[in-house]
Symmetry: C3
Subunit: 273 residues, 3 copies
Amino acid sequence: MFGKMLENVRNTCPLVHNITNYVTVNDCANILLACGGSPIMADDRDEAAEITSICNALNINIGTLNSNTIPSMFLAGRRANELGHPVLLDPVGAGASGLRTDTARKLLEEIRFTCIRGNISEIKTLAAGSGTTKGVDADAADKISEEDLDSAAAYVKKFAAETGAVVVVTGATDIVADSGKAYCIRNGHPMMSRITGTGCQLSAMTAAFLAANTDQPLEAAAAAVCTMGYAGELAHARLSEADGNSSYRNYIIDAVCNMTPEQLEKGAKYEVR
Amino acid sequence: MFGKMLENVRNTCPLVHNITNYVTVNDCANILLACGGSPIMADDRDEAAEITSICNALNINIGTLNSNTIPSMFLAGRRANELGHPVLLDPVGAGASGLRTDTARKLLEEIRFTCIRGNISEIKTLAAGSGTTKGVDADAADKISEEDLDSAAAYVKKFAAETGAVVVVTGATDIVADSGKAYCIRNGHPMMSRITGTGCQLSAMTAAFLAANTDQPLEAAAAAVCTMGYAGELAHARLSEADGNSSYRNYIIDAVCNMTPEQLEKGAKYEVR
Amino acid sequence: MFGKMLENVRNTCPLVHNITNYVTVNDCANILLACGGSPIMADDRDEAAEITSICNALNINIGTLNSNTIPSMFLAGRRANELGHPVLLDPVGAGASGLRTDTARKLLEEIRFTCIRGNISEIKTLAAGSGTTKGVDADAADKISEEDLDSAAAYVKKFAAETGAVVVVTGATDIVADSGKAYCIRNGHPMMSRITGTGCQLSAMTAAFLAANTDQPLEAAAAAVCTMGYAGELAHARLSEADGNSSYRNYIIDAVCNMTPEQLEKGAKYEVR
């Protein structure tokens, strides 16, 4: 099923509007191209809504939010809602500053999100105000262990029910859930956390999967998570002794670029809880 | 002749002022260094004109234009005109939003451009208001086929005559024309469209070629287009089975870095129409 | 000793707040992760001070400063001073525009910097108003030769005494000095100047070293300089014939990622003057 979803991205080449941070934006654009989508970045309020209207999905990432781009997030989000486009929120660093937490919360109040993707600290911040975000990475205190997986899945399902969104919590084990069903995904490699922006890249790519598979947002998001994680495994297997995190970054995008639907179908490691 | 033009870039190390988007800016800087130029990025209105005055060329790219950077484009453009510096316009996404189309048109009215580089949809938008831009990529309906090449060359020459600029339309076959002469260039590889920013990179590099070869802007632009396209061929030949678009991006810049004037002379594939 | 300092970065994983340019920001983030630190980028005035307060060091880089980010530099700098966090200034392009020179000078007046890192032209601009900055690179007229090394070291020590900061001047030979002692470092490779942002990356990494070794800022900065330079040597040795500046960029970050304290200890090439 996940293979078919990747195939749908390749066949429909969804155009994804990204209002995102300037740190990882180039990698977001290249991974969108790698998976078969097409990126456009536009964050000025004088064009944000118009650009969204010619796109197939909207990816809002608050990684380097500022007073110019925040209004654009709302303008584009509302327009995307009107048009019925999938909209994704990546609440980068929610909990690390009042501006980030407040902006993410207001976005959740005013915009209907198809999907919310963050680490556990960011999601906890939004769900309960209890996350302890350490910069843009999840805090150790929030980490999900194998023993906690059932309760974590229940927690994510509950937040999904409250928001009406598919919620993606990425970590050692990723959880992708709507109100009724949770995919626990075991693809990926620990070294992915030594690259900046694997989360941002996943969010951008998830928006493309949502656009190409509008009738199954839960499975579309899970397929994107498996694609990213499995690419992380394939890329890691390719590392030479001299390669480090910078080459690894390139290899992950390369692996997405070369991934076939059949490969993904075989490589995806998940269970439903 | 094109080899000599690359050599001139290497020998004079032109400093290129870029007011450009934050998506592909790092690759623009690295390809400028690769070809033998030197980059500086500065987009605040309080320094845009001053920075331009110490540079040898100006590259204006509207890829992520906003209310802060648009005035800087005009300020720098006017100063570069006063100083007789080559100025290039890359109208990224013209046709995709009113802000982009209007800004590009106003720039064309107020600034004298040495060169305008875009895909066919962007150029059609500027020339006739008829382009059907799909995001930042050319629309299929606008694509130039081999049969249409003569009429396309005539079209590009006409726009060149109207603007007084060398016009570069990149696609499967690239057209580089002034009012009287068109180079049709067949370097490049289709996979280049799976990397973000090959167009932006070409624009930045073209500005360096224009600065190093001020007496022959048409040939300078054509030489830059051949350099980029031929680098795309060399880089493609180098791809291993596991390499994808991210490694390809690196290899293209590498190929520009290592390209000798002799190699370019031999590898350039063009005809004049 | 320098090996121990790298080990301290790896063991404490300092979170570095970067207010930096959008050209090289991704490489800054990846090199921070490579050395064992953690990056966060935030430049809006509504969160700059708050973000700094949860971090271990602040890196201010004026590479693409603008009217929105300049106030954030002051707000974050003051807060970091209040909290006793290490603060680093990278005065990119000081001397190239009044805005850059003035902003760097005002920052020096109002903020207490632990470290200032620039090329010789930028440092001369700040120290005496006499630098002749060519864009963002040092001007040939300012270059330090082997014969001038003693007087250059004295010059850097004097500026260090005036500012109370450790001053790092990077070039063919790097000088890292406080008021009493100068490390002259001979790591590195000339090809590093063909990559955009090796200076910015070094500044970001130096902030992490300062945070992990607060009691020895001079040695911490020298250790960071040796790490970057030695990584440049290791990465250069790894270049294949087809590799150019883009692959070289990746290999340098890779080399930092893989560098062990023992390797650094052996590879560091310096003398004290």
